[in-house]
Symmetry: C2
Subunit: 266 residues, 2 copies
């Protein structure tokens, strides 16, 4: 990592599993050294943007939680799937049926939801009930050409009380039932990383992604021409290091170590 | 259909959507003419076996319900996934974690379920909760080599109160989350049709499958060398007639019509 770190001008940070481990109760626990690491990046003059697939809350609510955990973070610094999806829905005149977390619903407040012509699926957590999944399915299968928009395609994530199925698993269930392919907004979709890079004003060759997800963080960022580092925190598992398709540019034990190496090269 | 029906010596009948439309409350409504059609097949001397992916109840309970709806049916006449799965589990020394309907659990009574080394997923219906899906996922992801056994791979089915996601959708969710391929017991798996044919003592060339599922009934039976007819009842939808891969040997409006044509050729 030291070999190429001096070219880095901007840092994209995943949040869950890198800054903190989220809790099933909506809370969570900071990962040791991460709050200090964020402050050090900001003090160094490197550009910084948070790039998350978090869809369990509005950005406002999510940022407030992270501030409460001691992180220096603000809403404009966060690239998240729901606002990106809203832009797409407006552009295409789509009226969503929402299968999302209750706390995310306000992000879609401006959109007409009567007589839906698409389904938007996020990490609905406790809202992934048998009844809600059947309802979303019936809306989709009733369309002449079903439109399914997924806020991410993650397989699972780690909360303080254990691993949980992520939106990608439920997306696959609806894709299979309706014989349709979802349009994914969020990591690893290229336009999503590009909008995070645009927010920093840094080209991909000068940017680094730091995340715990081998496919969505590391693989997605590399597809955009960025360097990408996997932390050994969050959902990281040792077998990730034998992934058949994705090889990170480096491994670090945690965010603090990544920032140590980055700042030594400045 | 009349052209080849005279070669038929044995009939495999799907149950849900052919004999009756099941109800979300565990009941259901017979499809007009179906009970009489079953009696006519039996009176004709044709061999008959019911071949179902039903996994919401033990065969005993399911057969009792159908008898209550007026059908002439008995347990040995029914080929169903759970008994087939039990045989496989015993042969391979597998201890299942069950994600199935409460009423199916007795089918697995003889098996050791402590310290599970596989997950068995059926149409769990109301048991497809967020918590139960996470639990099955954690059991799977904790195995060195996850073993997932699915009692069918249906996409959805129709109950009296609407379409419902079937086991295949939830199977896909777990497959994706754990990067594993499920072993499917039940239609459209070839060994399953073969065991139904063996129960009748009729070779595939002299057998007909009558079902409402274009892929699992019609496509699966044809793969085994049988003729297969799709009824326009149950989950049938007009767009099934444009299916890209599967073309039934005939369409009929319902089971009664299929039996009319069959018996005219005897």
């Amino acid at each position: 990592m030291a070999a190429w770190a001096r070219a880095v001008r901007g840092v994209l940070l995943d949040i869950s599993g890198v800054l903190y481990d989220s809790g099933g109760d909506g809370g969570g626990a900071p990962i040791a050294g991460s709050a200090e690491a964020v402050r050090r990046i900001k003090a160094s003059g490197l550009k910084l943007q948070f790039c998350t697939n978090e869809t369990q809350a509005t950005r406002e609510k999510f940022v407030k939680k992270l501030q409460g955990l001691g992180f220096d973070i603000s809403v404009p610094e966060v690239t998240a799937p729901a606002p990106a999806a809203c832009r797409i829905l407006k552009e295409r005149g789509l009226r969503p049926h929402l299968l999302v977390h209750n706390d995310l619903v306000p992000e879609f407040a401006e959109l007409d939801k009567a007589n839906p012509n698409c389904v938007v699926i996020g990490d609905a957590a406790e809202n992934f009930t048998y009844a809600n999944l059947n309802e979303a399915f019936r809306v989709l299968i009733g369309m002449e050409k079903p439109v399914l928009i997924a806020l991410g395609r993650g397989r699972y994530y780690k909360e303080t009380d254990g691993l949980k199925l992520d939106v990608g698993a439920y997306m696959k269930a609806l894709e299979y039932a309706c014989d349709v392919e979802a349009e994914v907004v969020g990591k690893p979709a290229k336009p999503f990383f590009e909008s995070a890079l645009a927010a920093m004003g840094v080209p991909p060759q000068q940017a680094i992604m730091i995340g715990d997800d081998i496919v969505n963080d590391v693989g997605g960022a590399q597809q955009c021409g960025m360097r990408a580092v996997q932390v050994r925190t969050g959902k990281y598992r040792p077998c990730d290091e034998n992934h058949p398709h994705v090889k990170p540019d480096a491994y670090v034990n945690n965010l603090a170590e990544a920032v140590d190496i980055l700042l030594q090269q400045l």
